[in-house]
C-alpha cells in the first residue's frame, strides 16, 4: 500500500452529523410546522382553553378572598376595594360582566385549576405559594408591609391561559397605577 498522509481517510466533518440525523430532522420539522402555523394568522399569544375569547362580551368569573383594603368583602354586596375596582374596569375593556365568588385562597386556586374561575384576587404578592398552580401577572404595584418590606402585588389566572394573562398584564401595566 502506498504511503498516505495521516488523516487522509478520516471522514469529513459531516461524519459527526450523521448520527444526529433523526434528531436534526425532528427538530427542523417541528420548528417549521410550528412557524407555519404561527404564520397562518393565529393571534399570539392564544389561550389553549380559550378563556379570553369566552370572557370577551360574556362573563369574567372572578374569585376574591378578603385582604384589607385590597379586597373588601361584604355580605350581600359585590366586593369593594382596590383590586375589585381594577377587575371591574378590566372587565369593561372586554365588554364582560363579572361573576364574583369568594372563598379561601386554596379553594379559589383549585377553582382556577378546575377551569371554574378565570381570575383570582386577594392582595396577593409575587411570593405567593400558588405560583406552581396558577399563572401570575407581572407585579402591577408595590406596597410596604408591616415590617417595612416591599410587597409586589399580582393577580392569578389559570396556568397557560396566555392570551388572558397578556391582556390583563397589558391592562394592569398600562393602567399606570401609580403608587
Amino acid at each position: 500500500m502506498a504511503t498516505r498522509s495521516p488523516f487522509v481517510d478520516s471522514p469529513t466533518e459531516r461524519g459527526g452529523d450523521v448520527s444526529r440525523g433523526p434528531i436534526v430532522r425532528a427538530m427542523v420539522v417541528c420548528g417549521l410546522s410550528v412557524l407555519l402555523t404561527a404564520g397562518c394568522g393565529a393571534t399570539i399569544p392564544t389561550d389553549p382553553d380559550g378563556t379570553l375569547d369566552r370572557a370577551r362580551g360574556g362573563t369574567l368569573r372572578v374569585g376574591a378572598t378578603a385582604n384589607g383594603s385590597w379586597v373588601d368583602l361584604r355580605e350581600g354586596e359585590d366586593p369593594a376595594g382596590r383590586e375589585p375596582d381594577l377587575v371591574r374596569s378590566f372587565a369593561s375593556t372586554l365588554d364582560a360582566d363579572v361573576a364574583w365568588s369568594s372563598g379561601s385562597e386554596e379553594a379559589l386556586v383549585a377553582g382556577l385549576e378546575d377551569g371554574d374561575l378565570d381570575l383570582v384576587i386577594g392582595g396577593l404578592s409575587e411570593d405567593t405559594p400558588w405560583s406552581e398552580e396558577a399563572g401570575m401577572t407581572r407585579p402591577y404595584t408595590e406596597s410596604i408591609d408591616g415590617r417595612g418590606g416591599t410587597v409586589k402585588h399580582v393577580m392569578l389566572v389559570p396556568l397557560g391561559e396566555n392570551a388572558l394573562l397578556f391582556e390583563l398584564d397589558s391592562f394592569l401595566l398600562g393602567s399606570g397605577d401609580p403608587r
Binding site: M1, T3, R4, P6, F7, V8, D9, S10, P11, E13, G15, G16, D17, S19, R20, I23, V24, A26, M27, V28, C30, G31, V34, L35, T37, A38, A42, I44, P45, T46, D47, P48, G135, M136, T137, R138, V157, P158, L159, G160, E161, N162, A163, L165, F166, L168, D169, S170, L173, G174
Partner: protein, 335 residues
C-alpha cells in the same frame, strides 16, 4: 535549549509550528467561547419565562461551559514534562477532562428528559405573560425568541473554527466541544419552536421541544462517554473524531516491515491524548540481528513521521507475541 517554545509543548515532544499555532488559536477560541457563553447565559436568564424548552436550552448553555474549561485545564496540565512518578507524562488529563464533561452531559440529559417528560404527562400549561419594555407591554415570548435567535449564532461560528483546529491538534475534547457548538443552533431552533407553540396555544409544543433538546444532550453525553472511556481503556488509537482507526499505526508497521533487516513488524498504539504511545514488535530476518544503530535509526525514522509519535519503543523478538497483538492473523486494516 528551546526554552522560548516551552509553553507550546505537549509534555516532552516539541510541537511543530502548525500545531503550536493551532494550539494557541484553540486556547484563544476557548476563552472567546467562555466569554460568549457568559453573555448568552446571562441574557437567557433575564428572559427565562416558564417555558421548559427555554429552561432546557439555558441549562445546555450552562453545560457548554464544561468542555472549554476541560480543554483549558487539560492543556495546562499536559504541558508539564514527564516525571519519575509520571513517566508517560500527564497526557491522560485530556481523557479525564473529557470523561468529566461527558458524565455531566449524560446525567443532565437524563434528568431533563425525565423532567420534560413529566411536564408533558401531567399536561403542565406553560404560562408566559407580558413584560414592560420602554413603556409598552409586549409578550415575553417574543423577547425569549429574539434572545434565542441572537444567541444561537455565535456558537455555530466558534464551533466550525474549533473543528478544524481539533483535527490539527488531534484533540478529542476540542472536537467534542466544537461538535456540540456546531449543533447549538438546533437547540435554539427547537426552543423557539416550543415558545411559538405556546404562543399559538399548543401547550404541549414546549415540553416536546424540551424533550428533543434533552435527548440531544443525552446523546452528546453518551457519545462522549463512549469515546472518553474507550480512550482511557487504551483502545487502539483512532482519528480525532473517533470515526476510524488512526492510519499512523499502519504506516509505522509498513515502514518497519520495509526495512532490509526486518522480517515482520507489528505495533500496538494507544492514544495518550494528542500524542501516541507506540510499542513496535520487530522480528529480524534470519541471521540479520540488528545493531543498536539500526534500532535507533528505525525509531527516529518513525518519530520523524509524525509529531504524535514521540514515546516509542522498538522490541526485537524472535516471533510476534500474539498475546500482546490480538488479531495477529487478520490484516492490519481491520476496524
Amino acid at each position: 535549549m528551546r526554552d522560548a517554545t516551552r509553553t507550546a509543548e505537549f509534555g516532552h515532544p516539541q510541537l511543530p509550528d502548525e500545531q503550536r499555532d493551532a494550539l494557541r488559536r484553540a486556547v484563544r477560541l476557548e476563552w472567546v467561547t467562555i466569554g460568549v457563553l457568559t453573555v448568552t447565559a446571562t441574557l437567557m436568564f433575564l428572559v427565562l419565562g416558564s417555558s421548559q424548552a427555554m429552561r432546557v436550552a439555558w441549562i445546555e448553555d450552562l453545560l457548554s461551559f464544561l468542555p472549554p474549561i476541560a480543554f483549558l485545564v487539560a492543556t495546562r496540565v499536559i504541558r508539564r514534562p514527564p516525571t519519575r512518578d509520571h513517566p508517560y507524562g500527564l497526557h491522560r488529563a485530556t481523557g479525564i477532562a473529557h470523561l468529566v464533561a461527558a458524565v455531566a452531559l449524560l446525567v443532565m440529559g437524563a434528568y431533563l428528559i425525565v423532567d420534560s417528560g413529566f411536564k408533558l404527562v401531567i399536561a403542565e400549561h406553560p404560562t408566559i405573560g407580558g413584560i414592560e419594555v420602554l413603556g409598552r407591554t409586549v409578550w415575553l415570548g417574543w423577547l425569549m425568541i429574539a434572545t434565542l435567535a441572537v444567541t444561537s449564532v455565535a456558537p455555530v461560528i466558534l464551533g466550525r473554527a474549533k473543528l478544524t483546529l481539533s483535527e490539527t491538534l488531534h484533540d478529542k475534547v476540542l472536537y467534542a466541544d466544537a461538535d456540540m457548538n456546531k449543533a447549538d443552533w438546533m437547540t435554539g431552533a427547537a426552543a423557539i419552536a416550543g415558545i411559538v407553540g405556546i404562543g399559538v396555544g399548543w401547550w404541549w409544543a414546549d415540553s416536546v421541544a424540551a424533550l428533543l433538546i434533552s435527548v440531544s444532550i443525552l446523546h452528546d453525553g453518551l457519545r462522549n462517554l463512549r469515546g472518553a472511556v474507550a480512550g482511557l481503556m487504551d483502545r487502539r488509537a483512532r482519528t480525532y473524531d473517533d470515526e476510524a482507526p488512526h492510519p499512523l499505526s499502519d504506516r509505522i508497521d509498513e515502514h518497519l516491515t520495509a526495512l532490509p533487516w526486518v522480517e515482520e513488524a507489528r505495533s500496538r498504539v494507544r492514544d495518550l491524548g494528542h500524542v501516541f504511545h507506540v510499542e513496535s514488535f520487530v522480528v529480524p530476518r534470519e541471521g540479520m540481528t540488528p545493531s543498536l544503530e539500526d534500532l535507533e535509526a528505525a525509531r527516529s525514522e518513525c518519530v520523524d513521521m509524525d509529531w504524535k509519535v514521540q514515546d516509542m519503543v522498538i522490541v526485537p523478538t524472535a516471533g510476534l507475541p500474539s498475546g500482546f497483538l490480538p488479531g495477529l492473523s487478520t490484516s492490519g486494516q481491520d476496524h
